[in-house]
């Protein structure tokens, strides 16, 4: 039937000669437009910083120049790399735990109003409690070292996981829920086939926020509980040590490495998230106008 053939609304295919209609986009230009602004901003910042220290003759002990920081970074790179590894490891474990615990708690809360009311206030507590107050308790309870530092990272990083996952699980459209009810889906099916997949973009956002917090949490844990030994010194201890000794170039070098770690993790997670969502979510699909 011709009507059936007509109702196939496949996208129009290109025909010979259509190529000239496609807007020409220079790749180099696109790259320049993308990378030039941050590079220029970086050069201006470094220049202004160096200029300020030189012009006002600021003591190097109070504010080192970028060159001093770089020198310190190169001089101490072996020690800083070991510290970086330790911090990255603690932060990663803290993040992993906060994903598992955060998503699990959100799922439990999504299944029962009662449990949500019982749990949520204490989940908020993880966000608001001064970590300085409970760090010694954790230290006493688990005996310090990596375990204690991972726990601090977990406490600091877990809340966005809970909040984002819970929001995703409860944002499912009414008609989608009705559809599942129509087909007599049970709670488990509704969770696995509807709520959880719907919540994936929310969970990915949670992971990106929590990844930064886990790094901060690991560093704070190392500042508070790190012992400088092979077992859990990390960047936190480096920072504290450098601050104690007034070696601000070293301190800035350690902070710089921590920041770079955070940026790299953020970019990698963003790319992985786009890969996971590329088929269906607007956030991961590039639209042409």
């Amino acid at each position: 039937m011709s009507l059936r053939a007509n109702s196939r609304q496949a996208p129009a295919r290109m025909q010979p000669g259509d190529e000239t209609l496609i807007p020409v986009q220079s790749r180099t230009r696109e790259m320049l437009a993308r990378w030039l602004p941050p590079i220029v901003a970086f050069v201006i910042l470094i220049g202004a910083w160096t200029g300020y220290v030189r012009a006002f003759n600021v003591s190097r002990f109070l504010l080192p120049t970028p060159a001093d920081v770089l020198t310190s970074l190169l001089d101490n790179h072996a020690e800083l790399l070991i510290a970086l590894q330790s911090t990255a490891q603690d932060a990663f474990l803290g993040l992993l735990l906060s994903i598992v615990i955060g998503v699990s708690l959100a799922i439990v809360m999504s299944q029962s109003r009662l449990l949500e009311r019982a749990i949520f206030p204490y989940a908020t507590l993880a966000q608001t409690i001064p970590i300085f107050a409970i760090a010694p308790l954790i230290d006493n309870a688990v005996g310090g070292g990596h375990t204690a530092i991972v726990l601090v990272a977990l406490i600091i990083a877990v809340f966005p996981m809970i909040a984002n996952t819970a929001l995703g699980l409860s944002s499912v459209e009414q008609n989608q829920l009705n559809l599942f009810r129509m087909y007599n889906a049970n709670r488990w099916q509704e969770l696995i086939h509807l709520r959880l997949p719907f919540a994936v973009p929310y969970i990915l956002t949670g992971i990106r926020v929590s990844s930064g917090l886990a790094i901060i949490g690991a560093i704070v844990g190392q500042v508070l509980l790190g012992n400088g030994g092979a077992d859990g010194g990390g960047l936190g201890f480096e920072i504290q040590y450098a601050a104690h000794n007034g070696d601000y170039a070293w301190l800035f070098a350690a902070a710089l490495i921590a920041a770079l770690l955070g940026i790299v993790v953020f970019i990698v997670l963003g790319a992985l998230g786009n890969l996971a969502l590329r088929n269906w979510h607007e956030s991961a699909v590039r639209q042409e106008n």
């Binding site: 009705n178 086939h193 994936v200 088929n279």
Partner: protein, 269 residues
């Protein structure tokens, strides 16, 4: 398609004293916020009928569908589906399918995955439901789009997938809530024809909500006209046009006279 053909029967056949598939008796429905959506509504639908509910926006048409689907309680009266209270009918027979105004496809599933959903929720093994879903897609002429994701499809195509999903569940009663309301006139007309073809093939009983009188007349064996809120059935109008219906009748005199009669009734409300 054998299981569908088992039930196939001539569309529009509504023998007088067959047990009704759906019956509403003096059904009223008020929401917690005080809105009275339905007041003392009664009608029946016999197996094999294609019944449309037409009425102004907010007259409770969609409420009726949700009640029959067992998705919400009623305030007074009695509803029976297959002789059972709607929620029990849904749970025990699993014989209902619902098509919503938005296609309600799961964006993270392919077309095939979406059509598989009702079978999957019913516990049909993976290979079997895949084969069944593919067969359904072939029936509606969508097989070549099986691997695409909903976001790549136009509104009309999404709705066809949504209808295919309902078809895959092999229901005997199909509830459609303004399924073509968001589509352009051309697409709507095409999908009307296609729907009649599928319904005849599957032997469905259909309850169809629309505010488009011409669509209602073209599709239905009977049109129920509703008054503005709180909704009541004000007229029960059989449409005496033989099935299968040629798309061309929509420009004919007889069709348009029936449509104007329905329209006039609707305006008297």
């Amino acid at each position: 398609m054998s299981a569908v053909e088992d039930r196939a029967q001539p569309l529009g056949a509504a023998p007088g004293d067959v047990e009704p598939l759906v019956s509403l008796q003096s059904v009223s429905k008020a929401y917690a916020n005080g809105t009275v959506a339905l007041r003392s509504t009664s009608f029946t639908v016999a197996p094999g009928e294609f019944v449309s509910l037409v009425g102004p926006s907010g007259c409770g048409k969609s409420t009726i569908l949700r009640i029959i689907a067992g998705l919400g309680p009623i305030s007074a009266g009695e509803v029976r589906v297959d002789g059972l209270p709607p929620e029990r009918a849904r749970r025990e027979r699993g014989d209902l399918a619902f098509v919503f105004q938005d296609a309600t496809l799961l964006p993270w599933r392919t077309v095939l995955g979406n059509v598989e959903l009702p079978l999957q929720l019913r516990g049909v093994p993976a290979s079997q439901r895949r084969a069944q879903a593919l067969e359904t897609l072939e029936t509606v002429g969508l097989a070549e789009f099986a691997r695409e994701y909903p976001r790549q499809l136009s509104g009309g195509m999404k709705m066809r997938v949504s209808i295919a999903r309902a078809l895959a569940a092999k229901p005997s009663l199909l509830l459609m809530d303004e399924p073509f309301g968001a589509l352009d006139e051309m697409t709507r007309g095409r999908l009307n024809v296609e729907l009649l073809r599928i319904v005849a093939l599957a032997g469905w009983t259909v309850l169809f909500v629309t505010h488009n009188v011409f669509e209602a007349v073209f599709l239905s064996s009977r049109v129920l006209v509703m008054s503005p809120r709180p909704g009541r059935i004000v007229a029960d109008m059989p449409i005496d046009l033989p099935y299968p219906r040629d798309p061309a009748i929509r420009t004919g005199l007889e069709f348009n006279m029936i449509a104007s009669r329905v329209l006039a009734t609707l305006q008297e409300g």
